[in-house]
């Protein structure tokens, strides 16, 4: 089956090929603390095709940022990758040395961080901050002239929608949206095949947010790269992504094409999440999801969502449900779908 059929998307200009850019298998990130092991990310598996936009959603504390950091191999102690593999373009990142990983960052996979305003050096001109990353990845025998670098910076700034003279400015002279654009320019400077964008617009206004997301999308299409968007804004996901993964308490509980997950969510958590979204179509009473997620250090024996779930039954508290296929590229970890044919 060709992927054009496998990934249905309403996105115009989408070029999704059958090449697996990223294959994450059984990835677990644990934090060893005095009071026990915190399973921040537990046994997560998913695949990103080339050109695909995958969105990872979940509430704060669900492990989505921990997962993004683990893909970059930037997990800090006491956290560590306990199990699993991260295969980017047929190379397992978990087996790379620190030096190999350092070279892979930016050139093969790049992070556009949350709150870009805080990720720039306040006392360094924008130009220097962009050049630093490029120079750092040059091979020993490679030489680039200052003029070439300046030209590259100008080109990058234009591509992210900034004027070239922003190069000579300092971060405090830029607005929040402009700083986020600089962070994107750094992110794409070495033409990575995977861009991880962690809540890239969480502090920005709607119009700026839309401009940034559309610029990011344009850049990604230009590079034929894949994107993993991490966030909790379901509206943004609906606008931007091709596929969605929903995380709850460190586990991936549902994956599927974004149109289908929104129109027909399977997991009770996804259902409640989508129901709780306010819309402009109708005025309705606000419904939240009652209760709170479990503490990751005391995870229940069964499904982590069980105590908040309106559809729970006898089986749920006994063992953690596994992810299982429920139709075209759709997976869900819930006993309600145990009997469905994994077509």
């Amino acid at each position: 089956m060709s992927t054009e059929q496998a990934i249905k998307t309403y996105r115009e200009g989408a070029r999704i090929t059958d090449v697996d850019t990223l294959v994450v298998k059984g990835l677990s990130v644990y934090y060893e603390t005095e009071s026990g092991t915190v399973k921040a990310v537990d046994d997560v598996s998913f695949t990103l095709k080339q050109g695909e936009r995958f969105a990872l959603v979940g509430e704060s504390g669900s492990g989505k940022t921990t997962l993004a950091m683990a893909l970059m191999r930037l997990t800090r102690p006491p956290g560590h990758i306990a199990k699993g593999s991260i295969i980017l373009n047929n190379r397992d990142l978990t087996t790379l040395s620190e030096e190999e990983m350092r070279r892979a960052r930016l050139s093969e996979l790049a992070l556009v961080p949350q709150g870009a305003m805080n990720s720039l050096n306040p006392v360094m001109r924008i130009e220097k901050q962009i050049i630093d990353g490029i120079v750092d990845h040059l091979d020993d025998d490679e030489t680039v002239t200052k003029d070439q670098l300046r030209e590259t910076v100008r080109d990058l700034l234009t591509r992210v929608g900034l004027r070239p003279d922003v190069a000579r400015m300092f971060p405090h002279e830029l607005s929040g949206g402009m700083k986020q654009r600089v962070a994107m320019a750094i992110g794409i400077s070495l033409r990575p095949k995977l861009i991880i964008a962690d809540e890239p617009t969480s502090a920005l206004d709607v119009v700026v947010q839309r401009q940034i997301m559309q610029t990011l999308g344009r850049l990604q299409e230009g590079l034929d790269a894949s994107i993993m968007l991490v966030g909790h804004d379901m509206g943004l996901v609906a606008q931007f992504a091709d596929t969605i993964g929903v995380m709850y308490a460190g586990k991936l509980v549902e994956v599927g094409p974004v149109e289908e997950v929104f129109s027909d969510p399977k997991h009770p958590y996804t259902k409640l999440l989508i129901q709780s979204l306010p819309s402009l179509q109708e005025k309705k009473d606000f419904v939240g999801i009652p209760g709170l997620p479990p503490l990751l250090i005391h995870l229940p024996q069964g499904c982590a969502f069980e105590d908040r779930c309106p559809s729970r039954f006898e089986k749920c508290p006994i063992a953690v449900p596994e992810m299982r296929g429920v139709g075209n590229r759709r997976e869900v970890a819930c006993y309600l779908y145990e009997d469905e044919d994994a077509s």
């Binding site: 206004d205 709607v206 306010p278 009473d285 606000f286 999801i289």
Partner: protein, 351 residues
């Protein structure tokens, strides 16, 4: 109808003075007239992007900014001429709720502290048992269980609970008006609902007027009666929330609404809109401030300042497209507003 707080042609500018008087001037609020009414409590949204002046407008209403031009009136009296006692009453009657439910707490004190302090400050309770009862009532009013909330430290509560404690704190003072500046922007989507719901109940059950400052038009549509949209200090559109959000007239409001990330993958954004040009300073603009980005711009727009034109009894737009409607005789933008009660009465009268 009695005006509780009134802004009368208020302008607030920043900068410009400088050592040599050469700094650029930011016009944060540009000639705004509006009224917050006491008899007809309503929820009013102030919407706009960052830099639109919405927080400055809120600070003017709180009395923490003094207008550069025009007057702010509290119960009909010029705010700058209030006696100490009147000012103290004002401080009790108008309560702010801020954006960040983390920064409003001292992490070393239990949450009880933020609830005790206003009672002590304003000597609201005669005895310890009365104080306890007041605190418990206020917590229950916002949907919190007192036993699960009191005696805890801020970090032991979720962001949503912390923000609701702040709403409870405001409630203790029996305010007439609550100014909520982006109260849910730092809270998870699943918890937003509970906070907005408690704010709405304050309005419905306790008759408190709420000014909801936000850039999120979806929640604004869900909870408020009326809305005003700001762009670079000017109110570009105002009216009832149904009129403005479902049928926006000003090209800027249209852009804002189109840009809302709707949770519907089949209904995606159109092409990327142009960026705001911050290079042109506020004082250099002689015409419409939105002219440089406006898809409907006309030859006259960059040089002619639009007035407030009444499109229908419940909607105004500051845009030359509607010039033939004639300028509003009453500059008070809240004259287009309607409370839910009034809307129902009007609907009943029609049938």
């Amino acid at each position: 109808m009695s005006a509780f707080i009134e802004l009368d042609h208020v302008t607030k500018t920043f900068g410009g003075a400088g050592l040599f008087g050469g700094g650029s001037v930011t016009i944060a609020v540009d000639d705004v007239s509006l009224t917050i009414d006491e008899d007809e409590p309503s929820i009013t949204t102030v919407a706009g992007e960052s830099g639109s002046g919405k927080t400055t407008l809120a600070r003017l209403l709180l009395g923490s900014h003094v207008p550069t031009e025009g007057r702010m009136l509290y119960r009909g009296k010029d705010f700058t001429k209030l006696t100490r006692r009147e000012r103290r009453t004002f401080q009790r009657e108008v309560q702010p709720i801020f954006q960040d439910p983390f920064e409003s707490y001292n992490p070393f004190y239990k949450v009880d502290h933020v609830l005790d302090a206003p009672i002590k400050n304003f000597k609201l309770a005669g005895s310890t048992s009365e104080k306890k009862r007041m605190i418990e009532d206020a917590l229950e009013m916002v949907g919190l269980v007192p036993e699960e909330t009191l005696g805890r430290f801020p970090h032991q509560l979720s962001g949503g609970q912390r923000q609701r404690v702040m709403v409870a704190r405001a409630l203790l003072l029996k305010p007439r008006v609550i100014l909520a500046d982006e109260p849910v922007s730092m809270v998870d989507a699943s918890l937003r609902a509970t906070i907005l719901d408690s704010i709405r109940r304050l309005n419905r059950d306790l008759g408190i007027s709420v000014v909801y400052i936000t850039h999120d038009l979806t929640t604004a549509y869900q909870i408020s009666d009326n809305i005003l949209v700001m762009y670079r200090g000017t109110i570009v559109e105002a009216g009832t929330v149904d009129a403005v959000i479902l049928n926006p007239q000003h090209p800027y409001t249209q852009l804002l609404i189109e840009s809302i990330p709707q949770p519907d993958p089949k209904n995606r954004w159109g092409s990327e809109p142009p960026q705001q040009n911050w290079e042109i300073s506020d004082t250099q603009i002689t015409g419409c401030k939105f002219a440089d980005r406006c898809p409907a711009v006309m030859d006259r727009c960059p040089t002619t300042r639009p007035g407030q034109y009444l499109i229908n009894p419940h909607q105004l737009a500051t845009c030359l497209l509607y010039e033939e409607k004639g300028e509003m005789t009453n500059p008070d933008i809240t004259s287009t507003f309607q409370t839910e009660k009034q809307a129902l009465q009007a609907a009943a009268a029609r049938t």
